[in-house]
């Protein structure tokens, strides 16, 4: 299809694009919002593959949400029907999938760094090629994009960054740069030549400007405006069925009761369930932009200044604030409540979005408390308990992207017996898998999976074999802490661990994946 494209004359590109878009819409079953992001750059995608000699030229997309048309054009049109399904192609760019996917990306703001790397590599290998990155205006709010612009802007290499400005990532773009539309002076201050094209959905105009700019030397910005098609009404909202819904229900009550609570999110309110609260508390739900490090330190600043910060953050994005959680929050023992959303397997988003690492690393950070509710009722009770400030220092409440019931907040308890017999084996589980798995002859659910209650050691002493179940990757975590306590107390028994393998887990249906890995 690339060869067909390159045989066309520029005036023919519009028809080619329209035809391609129709086929993409027909093929993609997972309609919005990622498809909308991709269709917004349909003309750009066609123009880039027309002008560039991909895959020899380096074309890097920031986050794969922009990549559906790119995938269709590069041999994966028929495979789009399988996208994000078990055994199907990825929803993101993937080097394993195609030579045209020059660099994979699941998280935002990395593309200009990767572009910097290509420029540096080509200096030592002598390779001559065009080098292009495409980044959305939302991803520009992530500090790594600035780091890369400032560094690459100081080099004299030929490189092109295309800013796809469609006024919004998943949440509307925030920040002064966007509000002021001061992109030109921003990029120029960082050493880049700046070109603006209003008609970013005009393939022929794009081809013309791309050919001009690619003939110039030095670091180049092409800033284009694109329109995101409005394919369907916003995602329907099913009240009372998810952890996200019950979190929002309770947060609404807490924000009403406690006028000093502020809830921060690094550009993820859309997926949080909290979106309806933004209309009610516009000043107290604060979207900081796609910038997890800043979000976490800002929360620490609020706490240090006498406020009451809560932070909503996806587990997978918490990885981007590891150091800030450690230094700015834990070391300073600041009382911040973290709502760690998408903890555990997320399903169709796959390996870049599974929230399977923080379950382990959080427990290694001194002075933190970690709660993992088994259902909506427990989650609600935990939020109420968190607001009563029963915990000193940072508190992490981890819940999955999953269905659950709620509506009857359960009074917080650190652990709960689900079954108790005379048998010698104890099953320990934490988080939402507790309600999904079959129960052990003795089964203790740990809503508070760290630190352990004072009496936990003596509970364990009653059993010969302890099975630990957790939806997490790694050698530590709950199982590691149980083993350490057994060692400390000279427990003679055995600990058997049931957790996810230390591997990048594929995309698929959450329940099926949990079953495959022995957690359901």
């Amino acid at each position: 299809m690339i060869a067909d494209l390159r045989a066309l004359e520029p005036p023919q590109l519009e028809d080619f694009t329209n035809s391609l878009v129709e086929r993409v819409i027909a093929a993609v079953t997972d309609k919005i919002p990622h498809l909308e992001s991709s269709l917004a750059v349909a003309e750009l995608t066609v123009a880039l593959h027309y002008v560039l000699n991909t895959p020899e030229d380096a074309l890097i997309w920031d986050v794969g949400h922009q990549g559906y048309v790119h995938k269709a054009l590069t041999g994966r049109l028929n495979a789009l029907a399988t996208m994000r399904k078990s055994g199907g192609i990825s929803g993101f760019l993937d080097r394993e999938e195609s030579a045209y996917d020059f660099f994979g990306a699941g998280h935002a703001s990395t593309s200009i760094s990767a572009l910097t790397g290509v420029c540096l590599a080509d200096k030592v290998t002598g390779k001559l090629r065009h080098r292009v990155a495409v980044i959305g205006d939302g991803s520009l709010t992530g500090g790594q994009s600035f780091e890369a612009l400032n560094h690459l802007g100081s080099m004299k290499e030929d490189a092109l960054v295309i800013v796809n400005d469609n006024e919004g990532s998943i949440d509307p773009t925030v920040g002064a740069l966007h509000n002021q539309q001061s992109y030109g002076s921003y990029f120029q201050s960082l050493g880049w030549h700046y070109t603006f094209l209003e008609r970013g959905n005009d393939a022929a105009a794009l081809v013309k400007v791309l050919q001009q700019i690619l003939g110039k030397s030095g670091p180049q910005i092409l800033h284009i405006k694109t329109k995101r098609p409005d394919l369907s009404p916003p995602k329907s909202y099913q009240p009372g069925t998810t952890f996200q819904w019950w979190a929002s229900e309770t947060m609404g009550a807490l924000l009403t009761e406690h006028q000093d609570i502020q809830l921060l999110s690094p550009a993820m309110f859309a997926g949080s369930g909290f979106a309806p609260l933004r209309a009610v508390f516009p000043d107290r739900l604060i979207d900081t932009g796609i910038n997890e490090a800043h979000t976490v330190t800002t929360a620490a600043g609020i706490a240090a200044a006498g406020g009451r910060p809560w932070v909503h953050i996806y587990s997978t994005f918490l990885q981007r604030a590891f150091d800030q959680v450690l230094h700015d929050v834990a070391l300073q023992e600041l009382p911040i409540v973290f709502l760690v959303d998408r903890a555990g397997l997320v399903g169709s988003d796959g390996p870049t979005h599974h929230g399977v690492f923080d379950g382990d690393f959080l427990m290694n950070l001194p002075g933190v408390t970690v709660w993992s509710p088994r259902n909506g009722n427990e989650l609600q009770g935990m939020l109420l308990a968190a607001a009563r400030q029963i915990v000193t220092g940072p508190l992490f409440i981890r819940y999955p992207k999953a269905r659950t019931e709620g509506g009857t907040p359960q009074e917080f308890v650190p652990y709960e017996w689900l079954q108790r017999t005379e048998g010698a084996s104890l099953w320990l589980s934490t988080g939402a898998i507790t309600d999904l798995m079959k129960k052990g002859e003795n089964h203790l659910h740990l809503g508070q999976n760290w630190p352990f209650s004072d009496d936990f050691g003596s509970i364990m002493a009653d059993f010969e074999e302890i099975h630990v179940f957790e939806e997490s990757v790694g050698f530590g975590g709950l199982a590691g802490a149980v083993k350490a306590l057994m060692e400390e107390r000279n427990h003679p028994g055995k600990c058997t661990v049931h957790k996810l393998p230390t591997a990048f887990i594929e995309h698929g249906v959450r329940g099926e994946l949990l079953h495959k890995y022995g957690l359901k």
Copy 2:
């Protein structure tokens, strides 16, 4: 002393500052380079405490290196003699130490985020106060500073950021912003009012401009130029005595032999031992700025484009690139060699700089290899082996800030028997503590601490009790992996763990701390 200061007239501030500086120099035993950074802002420190009503007003310093004069002025002049020593005060700002230390900081680029937090907290608490952050030009290269500027610049709050431009953090500042001196247009593009003062070492001039700016509303930048005094010649270089020296020795040979190797560092070449190589290979030792996320993804871009990237990074700063190491490197299985410097306890820098978390979290990242040499000879052999590309995917070579011998590169082996008897207990150790500790009756040093060699399970099978020694915090790590293998192979014996406690470990002498925690 603050009260004395505030009773003065502006023309008297110069004498006051000079007298204070003399007393600071006399008190501080740890002369350079942090003292130089602090003295560069002596006049600013005096002017700020003169104009502001600290500690009621919020004064936030980015990284504590600027804080020695601040400490002296706020009741800790006599304590400066104990700074960075066992039981003495911290070398960084510390909320526990003084109410004047509004926000702690050991890593760069966090101050404007903390300032954002203060502004947000004051909105809900109604507190009226001045809010000021001081950040160096080096720290501005860290993306978190951009994230915060872009966010706070979009708010209408009164806040002041002072840019202390003394042309360099620990390494000279890099990037287009610094090269072009385009700070004015940069800050304005992010919504800030911008004021420049050349005479940043003139206390009376500073007082005047601070009083003017603090009377204005909205987000304000004051950019000042300061001079760092040159207290003494550069740190003397003792050939052949440290891990850093031997790393540099071998890297010099490797860079000569392999013309495609590029060595990146996020602004830490000064402490790396590699500084002398920069003169020999100016294009291939690449200082990216204080931006670990960008550094790591750039390396991934180099590898994806067919280059051979190596990354020098401190263990404590690797925490800032956790997500990039996971997604951009490990998930894409890219062959990057990481020289993880300052792995383990660092001594006088204390809790924000101990490299004690990556020993655990790296082993949870799928597909990575981790090596931890016991001395300079083994480190040299590892670097040579890494250059022979005997490892697929990312490789982390972890070594401490410590003295060692070298000069006789030891051929790489994954493990090494130091003692072998008929006894039933096995001691396992990894890293530099191997050569510091007393040896077990059977003692195996694991140069490659992850993954295990194929025959490692059968080696363990010969012993009833296994002791694991590692200079690391956490429930996983080497000990966690040993326990997992024992479980997998139904090993009936016992594993006893000797590692650092899950706590923020104080500053002190490295050897003394290792002894205190049972690792020496």
